[in-house]
Amino acid sequence: MTKIISLFILEAVFCFTFFTVSYSDINLIQTNCKKTPFYDLCVLTLKSDPRSSTADVPGLARIVADSVNAKAIATLNQISALLKSVKDPTLEKALEGCIVSYNTIIQADIPVAIDAIEKNNPKFAVQSATDAGNEAQACENSFAEKASNSPIFSGNKAVHDLSVVLQSIASLLL
């Protein structure tokens, strides 16, 4: 009888541990993403990066920062491609301005955010993330057609929203 009981306990422990361990990282993601205004985007971004399964909160922030960077690079490439064939001078000016904004995100905002998170001085990460979102916004604002989205709307929105997520998670480190 004692054999059965001890085996029973062993199995119970095994089953619950197996499931809780593999889902505890999910809980960290969920808990932190709930504190951002873009829950689904946050969860999707984190889950799709294998590092998230063993990351602590600064690690999660790092993943989001990398994601902002990747999206920014992709959008920058889009802008450069559009610039090659642009004819309209107003559009050209807007695209050139966006180049400046995106260069700032990639060369200044994200590196500073990552550095600040690593060095445990998160307020500079919050500040940089805020700026990254603002840069994306400024780019979108610069297109003359106010009634419709710019040709790079989805890139701008992605970078903006992810920057807000980064800002929120970095704020948790304060």
């Binding site: 029973f8 205004p37 829950y39 807007a94 200044a108 500073v112 690593e118 445990n120 840069e135 929120s168």
Partner: protein, 649 residues
């Protein structure tokens, strides 16, 4: 007969058990297997349930598919100040409502950007600066050190910059004082403070971020005490002298203060930290700045305030109009505790009593305790630090003024941040709760041509230009009198007013807003109002607010457009008084002799160079005001590198 069967547990039905031994052995196996699968299923469903919990609370699901608007939120995205951290709740989740009709996204050209550099505020020749460090007066020179990035116009690679001045205004740049060349400050030579010993020698305590990103405190001292310029510094060979104590995290231990003497003849310092969400100030005693004992208690703590950065602790006289050495104590002395709150990027202070025996401090008014009460400055102002100036027997305050434009612009112009003009600090005897800050008198040496205006009447709803010539470098002293009849006749109301949630100067009240329009162009398409707003309560009591409105300071869309300000106590018989320093992209304004202070960064695109003008305005509906002003053109301070031929090196 002997029982030859193997011993088996006795069953309750021992007599009538029909099953044989082999069947008895199979039953437990089946039982275990079924239990195993039950548990497996239960675990599976448990996991499924917990993962579903989250997505039910998801925000803005609709926006995932690219739709512009979230119907619930009313606010559109606004560029957020990079100084005070704006909480997520203030920042919009909505993206790209492009109805900033008159806003330009990329207006910046080199002319506009180079105009932004200040003429008489301290700033390095280029790149990024943040906290003031170790200010002191030594052998005839005021010394100023600061957090500096030698490589870029953004935060990073932090080292100590250094400059000297004879008068706190005309600064000369010196070589970097300390760089990140030791394992204990490899990841940052961060903020610290100087202590002058009775024999005149200087010691510097500063925070280093180690190769493992642990925050530690280090000792440094001048290489040559006979060098008045204190160019070279030596780091103590036994550094670090302090590491995070038990209960304090590696990342929550920074910014040691100037030391003060205890009655036992030891030196005492305080270092800010936090325990969960409670901001605290730890206290250490030392005899040699090398060995320390952590006091059992803490200087003070306030729940919910988060990490206390750049803690400052100093005495003020209740009776005299001068500063006090940090070690002074006595019955006519009050002590100030100040903290920079990491959570909201603002500097808070509180006045109270220091209990020397156990190293604690208690606020006079717990309602305005540290972090929940008064701020040094209601604009963009952080990491402030005072020092006792034994040269002129005053306590002087430095504060870091960051940028509130985009980092793209900072990168383009190649620099970011300035320091405030150093301010004297005095206890405000009249209110007993406030400190008074005032620009050091040496700034008056920059005054050039002056203009005087006496009793200028400004009717309700009008603007009066003030012809003072160029209006980008000014020192303005003004007094306002509001029409008494209107003050009495106006009906009060229960509506609460605050600068930041008001509509700025377009929101007209009976008794305000009125004041000055600085950095305004002729057509007033760009303007920065610095003003008073008087609100009358339903009990007839008047409350005066002092605000800076940035909402129309520039047509550029990527700069901060917030309205800063706070209540300013105005006592019986006092006129409304104002002092404003305008220096290109920085405006420092002082109400009621420095009882309430606001610093803003302003980035106009049109109201620059000769196009910048000054106006009086009164947008109240009922009251007229009359203003008397003295205005000076201000010279440049010609801040530049120390001339090479004179340098001792």
């Amino acid at each position: 007969m002997v029982d030859t069967r193997p011993f088996l547990p006795v069953s309750s039905h021992a007599g009538s058990d029909p099953t044989g031994p082999s069947e008895n052995r199979r039953k437990p196996m089946k039982l275990q297997l079924s239990i195993f699968f039950v548990l497996l299923t239960v675990g599976f469903f448990a996991a499924l349930l917990t993962s579903n919990n989250g997505s039910d609370n998801g925000f803005v699901k609709e926006n995932e598919h690219g739709s512009l608007a979230s119907p619930s939120s009313e606010k559109q995205l606004r560029p957020v100040s990079r100084g005070p951290a704006v909480g997520v709740s203030e920042k919009s989740n909505r993206l790209f409502a492009k109805d900033n009709e008159n806003q330009l996204a990329y207006p910046w050209n080199n002319s506009m950007l180079s105009w932004q550099r200040t003429a008489f505020h301290f700033q390095p020749e280029k790149n990024w600066m943040n906290d003031p460090n170790g200010p002191l007066f030594y052998k005839g020179w005021y010394h100023f050190f600061y957090q500096y990035n030698p490589h870029a116009a953004v935060w990073g690679d932090i080292v100590w910059g250094h400059a000297v001045s004879k008068d706190l205004i005309h600064w000369l740049h010196l070589p970097l004082a300390m760089v990140a060349d030791q394992w204990y400050d490899k990841n940052g030579v961060w903020t610290g403070s100087a202590t002058i010993l009775p024999d005149g020698k200087v010691v510097m305590l500063y925070t280093g971020s180690t190769t493992e990103n642990v925050q530690v405190q280090n000792l440094a001292y001048p290489a040559d005490h006979s060098d008045p310029l204190l160019i070279n510094w030596v780091k103590y060979s036994g550094n670090p002298v302090l590491v995070p104590p038990p209960g304090i995290l590696d990342k929550d231990f920074r910014d040691p203060t100037t030391a003060w003497l205890t009655s036992e003849g030891k030196w005492r310092i305080t270092i800010g930290s936090k325990i969960n969400k409670t901001g605290v100030a730890l206290v250490y005693d030392t005899k040699d700045f090398i060995n320390y004992e952590l006091l059992d208690g803490i200087l003070h703590a306030v729940p919910g305030t988060g990490m206390w950065e750049c803690v400052d602790f100093f005495p003020v006289s209740k009776t005299e109009e001068n500063g006090l050495d940090t070690s002074v104590n006595g019955p006519s002395v009050k002590h100030v505790v100040k903290a920079s709150l990491d959570d909201d990027r603002h500097d808070y202070y509180s006045i109270g009593t220091y209990h020397e025996k156990n190293g604690t401090w208690i606020p006079d008014e717990p309602k305005i305790d540290v972090g929940i009460g008064l701020r040094y400055d209601y604009g963009i102002y952080y990491a402030a630090k005072t020092f006792y100036d034994q040269n002129k027997n005053r306590r002087v305050l430095w504060g870091w003024i960051g940028e509130s434009d985009s980092e793209a612009a900072d990168m383009q112009k190649g620099w970011a941040s300035v320091q405030s003009i150093p301010r004297t600090i005095l206890f405000d005897k009249k209110t007993g709760t406030h400190l008074l800050q005032w620009p050091v008198e040496e700034i008056e040496s920059l005054r050039l041509k002056s203009y005087e205006f006496n009793q200028v009447k400004v009717q309700a709803g009008s603007v009066v230009p003030l012809d003072v010539g160029p209006a980008t470098q000014l020192d303005i002293i003004a007094e306002f009198e509001i029409d008494n009849e209107a003050l009495e006749k106006t009906t009060g109301s229960n509506v609460t007013f605050s600068c930041s949630s008001s509509g700025g100067t377009v929101e007209r009240g009976a008794l305000g807003p009125f004041g000055l329009l600085v950095l305004a162009d002729d057509s007033l398409s760009e303007q920065t109002p610095v003003y008073f707003y008087i609100a009358k309560g339903s009990d007839g009591k008047l409350k005066t607010f002092f605000c800076n409105d940035q909402s129309r300071s520039s047509v550029a869309s990527d700069v901060n457009k917030q309205i800063y300000g706070n209540l300013v106590p105005v006592l019986e018989g006092e006129k409304l008084s104002l002092r404003v320093l305008v220096d290109h992209s920085i405006v420092e304004s002082f109400a009621q002799g420095g009882r309430t202070v606001i610093t803003s960064r302003v980035y106009p695109t049109k109201a620059i160079y000769g196009a910048a003008k000054l106006f009086l305005f009164n947008n109240a509906t009922e009251a007229s005001v009359s203003a008397s002003l003295r205005i000076w053109q201000m010279n440049s301070a010609f801040i530049r590198p120390y001339p090479n031929d004179k340098e001792s090196q």
